[in-house]
Amino acid sequence: MVSKDEIKHLGWLSRLELTDKDLDRYASQIDEIIRYFDKLDTVSLVVSEPASSMKKVSELRKDNILMFEGDPLEFLKNRKDGFVKGPKMV
């Protein structure tokens, strides 16, 4: 059973503000969905290895530096005097 407290905690870890109404709704919906996922429990763990990357690391592309066209700061909403504005750290 997925509890309201678990949803609240996951909401905090995911940085999502959830109201009491949200918690009620999500708790019952997510509980139903997770119960559906429980059917995965019957999958054998001895099946072969999970899917992995198809490409060898040695085939990675060169790390080319591409210069940004124009001023990247112009794409930001929150900026001031040539700096990016952010929330307080302390």
Partner: protein
């Protein structure tokens, strides 16, 4: 007017412009008028780039006047799902979080379309961050089904399918993580392809679930869908998951096009019974009629079984949500986002406040994704989901030793009315039961129109082995020629 230029398919437009039967400007002007007239009812477009489209059309006409060669999609109007980055053209993901985002670069597919002289007429509606099956979760309101505007268009690429069905553009790009191109293609009676994982570059596609999603193509005919693939398929240094295919390799040796229709005989067709069993009787009847048509056209057709299919939906949603929660952690409203002054807030308070602007479904998936990845549940859900995925891949692989293609309904149900499933997420997820298999296995799958019931479209899904796009085009095109359900919706 039946003789209007906007009725033409991509193939007809490209040859009409090349042969100077009409100009690109004449054609694009009609398309833009059509969008202006129709889209108030359909809501397929988030952004229309009239100025950019006319400018590009003029330059194509100029080049033709000067005897220059133009690309394979020269002058064709294309719409692009609004989660694919277009330089200097807003790309919102139908989310408040990216409502004002203007990408500084083009996705690889966009670069290739431009090199092929396609004309991007605008950006198309979707469920927020491509999470949904009806386009009801868009920040900009739902897209309506052109065949009956009281019904959903499917999703998440609802705008991509509805715009093509409603003759607002000839072709479009969508993205398909668990059926997001094929579902709306089926609901809107157009052709929709999810290519093999690695066949088309994902560079510039705003990520939702990296190991499952592919950029897909929509058109009114199989040939049109193939034409887009000829432009966009192939390896890309910016996407390490892309691979060279026999077809794309032929192009790099200077042999074009990559794909061209061939008349194949004695195709071995397997109807996957688990994917038909739970379908609406009206839909399954239609699929069995399709099976008869295959038998009647020199194909060997029989029922087959995909036992691991029972885990597909749970495996798919577990993996997709786990990847989503990781991908969406980047949205902090500092690097991209909307206008909201962060100065008065403490770090965590600010992020929690702005991230609450994600919509209902996105938040639900972030929470479930965090749940299945959390220490106590990782082994029970995420790891098991990956094991199930491998089982499905192996079973699919063995099926393709016996069959050239596998068929099933694209959607187990007919399009439904707005609001019918929006409050029951599990029910909504369950309608993806037939499409998620192809994403888990990484194989190509196409949805083609197969009929109507009470004016609502039904689609047939055809799946082929990895990099078997050519087989899909051949089989789908030959099937397309045996049934006559063409015509446009009356809007």
């Amino acid at each position: 007017m039946e003789n209007s230029l906007y009725h033409l398919n991509a193939e007809q437009v490209a040859s009409g412009i090349r042969n100077r039967d009409f100009s690109a400007v004449e054609y694009i002007s009609q398309i833009l008028e059509r969008i202006e007239k129709i889209d108030v009812k359909i809501n397929a477009f988030v952004t229309v780039d009239s100025e950019g489209a006319i400018e590009k059309a003029r330059s194509i006409d100029d080049r033709i006047q000067h005897g220059e060669r133009i690309g394979g999609l020269g002058g064709v109007a294309i719409g692009v799902k609004d989660n694919i980055c277009t330089k200097n053209l807003k790309t919102t993901c139908a989310s408040r979080m990216l409502e004002e985002y203007i990408p500084p670069y083009d996705a690889t597919v966009i670069k290739k379309l431009k090199e092929n002289d396609a004309i991007i007429v605008g950006k198309l509606n979707l469920d927020e961050f491509a999470m949904g099956s009806t386009t009801e979760f868009s920040r900009f309101g739902p897209t309506r089904n052109p065949w009956n505007i009281n019904y959903v268009a499917g999703g998440s690429s609802g705008g991509s399918a509805a715009s093509v069905a409603a003759l607002e553009c000839a072709i479009s790009l969508g993205s398909d993580t668990g059926g997001s191109v094929r579902c709306p293609a089926s609901f809107c009676s157009v052709v929709g392809l999810k290519p093999t994982y690695g066949c088309v570059s994902r560079y510039g596609l705003i990520s939702y679930s990296n190991s499952l999603e592919q950029i897909g193509t929509v058109g009114r005919t199989v040939t049109d869908v193939m034409m887009i693939m000829n432009a966009i398929a192939g390896e890309d240094a910016n996407d390490q998951t892309t691979r060279t295919t026999p077809a794309t390799n032929a192009t790099s040796r200077g042999q074009t096009p990559k794909y061209s229709l061939q008349n194949k005989r004695n195709i071995r067709v397997g109807l996957v019974k688990e994917l038909v069993e739970g379908a609406d009787p009206v839909v399954s009847k239609c699929i069995y009629s399709a099976m008869d048509l295959f038998v009647g056209s020199d194909c060997k057709c029989e029922e087959t079984s995909l036992k691991s299919g029972q885990y597909a939906l749970a495996s798919y949603y577990t993996i997709a949500m786990a990847e989503a929660t990781s991908n969406l952690s980047r949205y902090d409203n500092i690097r991209y986002g909307f206008d909201s002054n962060p100065e008065e807030y403490e770090w965590n308070t600010y992020f929690t406040k702005v991230r609450s602007n994600f919509g209902e479904e996105v938040k639900r998936r972030i929470i479930i994704g965090s749940y299945v990845l959390s220490a106590g549940y990782y082994g029970k859900y995420y790891l098991k989901a990956q094991k199930a995925r491998e089982m499905i891949k192996q079973e699919i692989k063995s099926l393709f030793e016996k069959y050239d293609v596998l068929i099933s309904p694209t959607m187990p149900i007919l399009p439904f009315k707005f609001g019918e499933k929006i409050d029951d997420p599990l029910k909504m997820y369950q309608i993806d039961i037939d499409t998620v298999v192809a994403n888990l296995a990484g194989i190509p799958a196409i949805s083609i129109p197969i009929g109507f019931n009470d004016g609502l479209p039904i689609g047939l899904q055809i799946m082929a082995n990895e990099m078997g796009e050519q087989t899909l085009f051949d089989v789908a095109s030959s099937f397309e020629s045996t049934i006559d359900i063409h015509g446009s919706p009356k809007i």
